[in-house]
């Protein structure tokens, strides 16, 4: 198992959002988190990434941890595409960033300053960072935002290759990422206290 969670409860800003989450992700498998806005997809992913502590439950992430791709792309505007990716490759001790560059068709843009990228190109660069981390578990928060259909398909291929190589993907998305993935709707796991707070907010 690359990821195992039992009875996991997570909070955002001190308010419990989801609780009682059980999930397990083996090498080669993918799971898609669904649910309306505010249902705790990002919170769950950030907790698994280790950016915030869990409120309760057991969380086990195999090996060196997970690669987390959040809403922001971790791209420096004044560096070129190649420099951005080479930096993350070196931080993670990966040999070369060129394969990742090619996998997301960023080769022709390698010398372009990231400031001049379109939103979709910037997203592609952010996703290429997942490849250079060398981590087996990918946590992706709405990876397809601002991607065109062809690039969604391209990235689905990248994820499939990652799964075939023994990786695992946990992603939050509102659209079908074109991946053979299980689905987990976070709606039923809404924390009871969150419901209470929500009701009070309405009243």
């Amino acid at each position: 198992m690359l990821l195992e969670a039992r009875g996991l409860a997570c909070a955002r800003g001190g308010v419990p959002v989801v609780e009682g989450i059980d999930l397990a992700l083996a090498a080669g498998s993918a799971l898609m988190l669904t649910g309306p806005n505010g249902s705790g997809k990002t919170t769950l992913l950030r907790t698994i990434a280790g950016l915030q502590p869990a409120l309760a439950g057991v969380l086990m992430v195999a090996g060196e941890g997970a690669a987390y791709g959040g809403h922001a792309d971790a791209v420096k505007a004044t560096l070129t595409v190649g420099e951005n990716l080479a930096f993350w490759a070196e931080i993670h001790g990966a040999g070369s960033h060129l394969a990742a560059l090619a996998a997301l068709h960023l080769g022709p843009l390698a010398n372009r300053v990231a400031r001049d990228l379109s939103a979709g190109q910037r997203r592609r660069l952010g996703l290429a960072r997942m490849l250079v981390t060398g981590r087996r578990l990918w946590l992706l928060d709405e990876p397809t935002v601002s991607l065109d259909l062809a690039t969604v398909a391209l990235f689905a291929g990248v994820m499939q290759a990652h799964l075939a190589a023994g990786g695992a993907v946990l992603l939050a998305s509102h659209i079908d990422p074109g991946l053979d993935a299980g689905r987990l709707d976070l709606g039923p796991f809404r924390a009871r206290s969150a419901g209470v707070l929500f009701a009070e907010g309405v009243a």
Binding site: A49, G50, L51, Q52, P53, E64, G65, A66, A67, Y68, G70, H71, A72, D73, A74, V75, K76, A77, T78, L79, E83, F87, W88, E90, I91, H92, G93, G126, R129, T133
Partner: protein, 218 residues
């Protein structure tokens, strides 16, 4: 780690990176003081150590909020927090990069400005030495302050209020070194205390700053 240092240096040197701002600020303050105080050479000679140190301190302050705020905005900080290098090392390296781009130019420019302020001849060596020993403490203490306010909108002003009081010991011992050196007295005691502040803060504060970053990333 080396990659992070090179990246931060490259970012500072590229357009909009803010390199030279602190140096220009240092220069302007040191030029303004004689204009305000008047050209009385004995008065200038007496206040020169203090003016140079206060100006250096304010120049350091200018770029502190960039240390973590920019990385926080574009998601790099989250990516670094999940990277295989410890967050404490990230803080230390970013503090070092801040010193190399802000503190070191001040150290090198200080003798020229000492001339403008009529610093006595015996003081120049001690001025450079005290700044070289003291400004790293400013960068390290500043990166701790920057870690505390990361994520706050317009945290720059709050950062100044938080950090300036913490700069006081460095300022006191730094100016004391230059004053004593300029008067021909023995500056070794304040120099040792200045070095102690720098070493102590460089050893301890990255841990506190990393803790603050982790809390602010939640």
């Amino acid at each position: 780690m080396r990659a992070l240092l090179y990246r931060d240096l490259a970012l500072a040197l590229r357009s909009g990176g803010g390199f030279g701002l602190g140096l220009a600020f240092f220069l302007i303050v040191a030029v303004l003081v004689p204009l305000g105080v008047g050209a009385d050479r004995t008065v200038l000679a007496r206040i020169a150590p203090g003016v140079l140190w206060v100006a250096a301190l304010l120049a350091c302050l200018l770029s502190l909020d960039r240390i973590f705020a920019l990385d926080h905005e574009d998601g790099s900080l989250e990516a670094l927090a999940t990277a295989p290098i410890p967050l404490e090392a990230v803080v230390a390296v970013k503090g070092l990069a801040h010193w190399l781009t802000t503190g070191l130019p001040l150290v090198l420019a200080a003798p020229v400005l000492g001339l403008l302020l009529n610093l006595p001849g015996a003081g120049y060596g001690w001025l450079v030495l005290s700044l070289a020993l003291g400004t790293p403490a400013l960068s390290v203490i500043g990166s701790f302050g920057a870690a505390l306010v990361v994520g706050l909108k317009r945290g720059g002003l709050l950062l100044s209020l938080l950090v300036l009081p913490l700069f006081i010991p460095t300022l006191i011992f730094g100016t004391e070194v230059v004053k004593r050196g300029a008067m021909g007295a023995d500056p070794l005691v304040p120099l040792a205390l200045l070095a102690a502040i720098t070493l102590g803060s460089a050893a301890l504060l990255p841990f506190a700053a990393a803790l603050a970053l982790r809390v602010n990333l939640r």
